[in-house]
């Protein structure tokens, strides 16, 4: 196999880069150790920042967010719900910061409008009575799964290739160049070699590990962020706490639910991390001071992601590090065709891709300009199943009583699952419950896979995709993975739901035996 550009990492940056290069006519292959959005891209609050959050401590990020969010709203409307956002302060919050906020926004050209207390409460009735200030901004919600899937789909339509579940095991060097990349396909254990002209390391928090395989040093600081998913949506718009960025100060809509985030905990390595009970308690308590309803809310899941932060100077605390990104050309370290792009955030993914593609193209001698600033992101029908709340709308409209639902919480019909299975098979990727869940809403509702996990497994047998007792080991794996997100939020009705789930999976099926 060979390619002009090998992109390592199928998060939103790698996906955006693949599309950018493909639109410039450059051939690329995206390799991913796990699956799409397996890292930070799949574990964030789905927030398209207006920039207002960064006005006080990260002005470059603030301006980048301002420009990029406007572009994306125009070019990728299918991935965005333009909810608008509020910055709110409650009694006890720093009044100096509140007073400074509109001036800082104006300084960076970020539109902001002060609201009277009553206006804010009318817009968002769930806000606390202790509200003392509210400003309206242009924040929005973005669906990170759809965003990556659409970018990759468009790239593939222009000749790019995606290899998931393929891990980098080494780089073959020839002088100052990487000549080939060695991969191991996790399913088959087979090793493959891809001859390359350029390599891009877009592995987020893993950028340091991947770079070290090429003998390079990329100092990454890993910062864990935990978020909560509510059972029902709490607000119409994104609610930010009007204070210096801290824990539990953003509540963003995610279609039919709300996401409450985040924490910031330093990690030694980007190892898989679990949300903890103390983080969950911190988030609930902090967010409830803006939105009291969150104190008694039913949460269906918690999740944690790892932010890749850039280690600049001697900074140790995650919050004060820049949310900006870097494109490292590694030339001083003696490599002329290896680029690392890391840091950043979902709002600036397109810009990260553009800057990276500019460097790669100049090295390749490609002069075609970046087109992602002007060409709308194409939308493939199959990717719509990632959209929260869409499946119930379609189902109600079609009223097809012959069409069984495999996931009742999110009302995902069998035909949608079949479409996804067919697509996964045509690409030769592994076919399992997690891969299907990533590309749809299956398993994301309040049962968290207790029922649909089993039904999906049954359906895979029906289609002949599973044999012997393969389905059981898949189901156990699926249940153990979802447990990470459930364990810290098990109280109230979700604990009752969990009791039912254990009675089914252990009491009846005996999966633990």
């Amino acid at each position: 196999m060979e390619t002009e550009v090998l992109i390592i990492g199928a998060g939103v940056t790698g996906a955006g880069l693949a599309r950018d290069l493909a639109l410039r006519g450059v051939h690329c292959i995206v390799v991913e150790a796990k699956d799409i959005n397996a890292g930070a891209s799949g574990a964030n609050n789905g927030l398209l920042h207006s920039g207002a959050r960064y006005v006080s401590n990260d002005p470059i990020s603030a301006r980048e967010c301002r420009d990029e969010s406007r572009l994306l709203k125009a070019l990728a409307p299918n991935c965005i719900e333009d909810t608008g956002g509020l910055f709110v302060a409650v009694a006890g919050d720093d009044e100096a910061y509140i007073a400074e906020f509109p001036r800082l926004c104006a300084q960076h050209g970020i539109p902001v409008q002060e609201l009277q207390r009553q206006e804010a409460l009318e817009l968002e009735p769930a806000l606390a009575d202790t509200l003392i200030a509210a400003y309206q901004v242009e924040d929005a919600a973005i669906n990170p799964f759809r965003l990556s899937l659409e970018n990759l789909a468009e790239a593939e339509a222009h000749g790019a290739r995606l290899l998931t579940h393929s891990e980098i095991i080494g780089f073959e060097r020839s002088g100052s160049r990487i000549r080939a990349v060695h991969l191991r396909q996790n399913q088959s254990g087979r090793e493959i070699v891809i001859e390359v002209q350029q390599v891009v390391n877009a592995t987020g928090p893993w950028a340091g590990e991947v770079a070290s395989l090429a003998g390079l040093l990329v100092p990454i600081i890993c910062s864990k962020g935990t978020l909560l998913v509510t059972q029902t949506r709490v607000t119409e718009s994104v609610i930010n706490r009007l204070r210096l960025p801290s824990d539990g100060d953003i509540v963003s809509p995610g279609g039919t639910v709300s996401l409450v985030g985040t924490t910031s905990v330093g990690l030694d390595a980007p190892s898989p991390c679990r949300p903890t009970l103390s983080e969950v308690d911190l988030l609930v308590d902090e967010a409830a001071s803006m939105l009291p309803v969150l104190a008694g809310m039913r949460y269906v899941r918690a999740f944690a992601g790892v932010r890749p932060l850039l280690a600049a100077e001697k900074v140790t605390e995650g919050r004060t590090l820049s949310r900006g990104f870097v494109v490292l050309n590694h030339e001083e370290e003696g490599l002329s065709n290896f680029v690392t792009v890391t840091g950043g955030k979902i709002t600036t993914f397109r810009l990260m891709a553009e800057k990276t593609a500019d460097l790669v193209c100049s090295r390749l001698g490609v002069t075609a300009p970046c087109r992602t600033r002007t060409v709308p992101l194409a939308s493939a029908e199959i990717n719509q199943w990632t959209e929260p709340g869409l499946a119930p709308r379609i189902w109600l409209k079609q009223q097809n009583p012959k069409e069984p639902l495999l996931c009742e919480c999110e009302m995902v019909p069998q035909s949608a699952v079949d479409q996804i299975i067919d697509q996964l098979k045509s690409k030769g990727g592994p076919l399992n419950l997690s891969a299907i869940g990533l590309r749809s809403r299956v398993g994301r509702g309040s049962c968290q896979g207790a029922f649909c996990g089993f039904r999906m497994s049954a359906h895979l047998y029906e289609r002949g995709e599973l044999e012997f007792d393969q389905g059981l080991s898949q189901l156990k794996q699926f249940l153990e993975r979802r447990w990470h997100g459930l364990r810290p939020i098990l109280w109230g009705p979700q604990l009752a739901q969990e009791e039912l789930q254990e009675a089914l999976h252990c009491g009846l099926f005996g999966l633990e035996v």
Partner: protein, 429 residues
């Protein structure tokens, strides 16, 4: 008041799961004037309909109990805190025997090996150990043991059961199986959870004949036919017999996901028998409060539309279940008993409620939380003595048991129901 019970009741049972039903049954059989109260129709649709006595002990070693009674003897020795140990082997045996007889009287026959657990295959294709199964499942138990040639059928639109999955998953233990997808010979109402509609439809002889016609062409060498548990809500044996007569081989049911037809069947049959015996069943009413006078409970306050209603009794049994049933409720800081705020034995902090892995063989400590009781199954107050002289507790609400992991749910419900009723009778003499 007058419309619920003419006179003061002997016993009020709160809760309509298996423990509440069994308590009411034992009380009514003993001639007590009994009133059973529940807000919901109970959790029986969630019950598999299998009667577990003890399947696993010791739990952490995942040791299968071939003989449940030997298992219970060992459990009583190893875990003196377990509710079974409060009762002793003989009472549990007596309770079990009387309950099976009660079910038979109610028209539901259960089958089991003498002094040995039975093995059957669930809808997931996994093996389940249990003590007694509905007689409509029994041919499957025997079929598995003797590795008979069986045809397993499933139905279009019934997403909760796949014959192919069943056959593939259990294949190494029961190779002589074939799967066949059929179309259910009757129009169905909903989209999902079709099993209850199917069970209702099979009450009709015409639908049964059509089903037999649909099965017969695929029978070939099959010695028996397995299907999801849909053989009627009432009279399952007669429905099975009618099908068997038409297709010529035994038919067996396979336990499915909730809502479970065998669970509904248990509820229906027990409730009908209780009503025949004169028990008063109050449904859709929330028990708000228990009134007491010193160390005696005297009455239960029931929600009655906008007002309230007070029911007096000489004794009360709490069979309100756990979190799903509503007997326990958990906040972020602690677990509480919901009706009377009785002390709940529980792990010290939420951090310790659940283990890191869902399938950890040690089970989750939160599942052993619950009410602590004395030897008469009376909940304890903080001082370690019974909270009230005439308040008893039965079923999964009790502490120091993990019925899901030990596979002792029905046994726990039935034995503690029996224990509570007899403790009430003995103590009120």
């Amino acid at each position: 008041m007058a419309d619920i019970a003419q006179d003061k009741a002997d016993l009020i049972v709160i809760g309509a799961g298996l423990a509440g039903l069994a308590t009411t049954a034992f009380a009514a059989e003993s001639g007590l004037r009994t009133v059973q109260i529940s807000l919901t129709a109970g959790e029986m649709p969630f019950a598999s309909g299998l009667l577990d006595l003890l399947g696993i002990h010791p739990m952490e070693r995942l040791n299968h109990c071939q003989d449940p009674w030997a298992g219970i003897t060992a459990l009583i020795h190893d875990r003196p805190e377990h509710p079974y140990a409060r009762l002793g082997l003989e009472k549990i045996r007596q309770a079990w025997k009387e309950f099976l007889n009660f079910l038979q009287k109610a028209g539901l026959r259960y089958c089991g090996w003498p002094e040995s657990n039975a093995e059957l295959v669930t809808c997931a294709g996994t093996l389940k150990i249990t003590s007694h199964v509905p007689e409509t499942m029994w041919p499957g138990v025997v079929g598995l043991k003797e590795k008979r040639i069986a045809l397993i059928v499933d139905f279009d639109g019934l997403t909760d059961f796949s014959a192919v999955q069943f056959v593939e998953t259990i294949g190494s233990r029961w190779p002589a199986l074939r799967a066949q997808r059929l179309r259910f010979p009757h129009p169905l109402k909903g989209v999902n959870r079709q099993n209850v509609f199917m069970a209702e439809a099979l009450g009709s002889p015409r639908v049964r004949s059509k089903l037999a016609d649909a099965i017969s062409p695929f029978l070939k060498d099959a010695e028996l036919v397995g299907m999801p548990a849909i053989l009627g809500i009432r009279r399952p044996r007669a429905i099975a017999a009618d099908l068997e007569r038409q297709i010529g081989v035994p038919v067996f049911e396979i336990p499915t996901m909730p809502p479970s037809v065998p669970g509904l069947r248990l509820k229906e049959a027990i409730e009908q028998e209780l009503l025949r015996g004169g028990a008063v069943l109050v449904r859709g009413r929330r028990a708000l409060k228990v009134n007491s006078n010193g160390r005696h409970c005297i009455s239960v306050v029931l929600e009655a539309g906008p007002s309230k209603e007070v029911l007096e009794a000489r004794g009360i049994v709490l069979a309100t279940g756990r979190f799903l049933g509503g007997g326990l409720a958990a906040s972020r800081s602690c677990i509480r008993e919901t009706l009377m705020d009785l002390p709940v034995h529980q792990p010290k902090k939420r951090q310790d409620w659940h283990r890191q892995n869902f399938l950890d063989p040690h089970g989750h400590p939160v599942n052993r939380a619950g009410l602590e009781v004395d030897d008469l199954l009376r909940p304890l107050a903080l001082d370690g003595h019974c909270a009230y002289e005439n308040l008893f507790a039965a079923g999964s609400l009790l502490a120091h048991q993990d019925w899901v992991r030990m596979k002792c749910g029905a046994g726990l419900a039935v034995a503690t129901a029996y224990g509570a009723v007899h403790a009430f009778i003995d103590s009120s003499r």
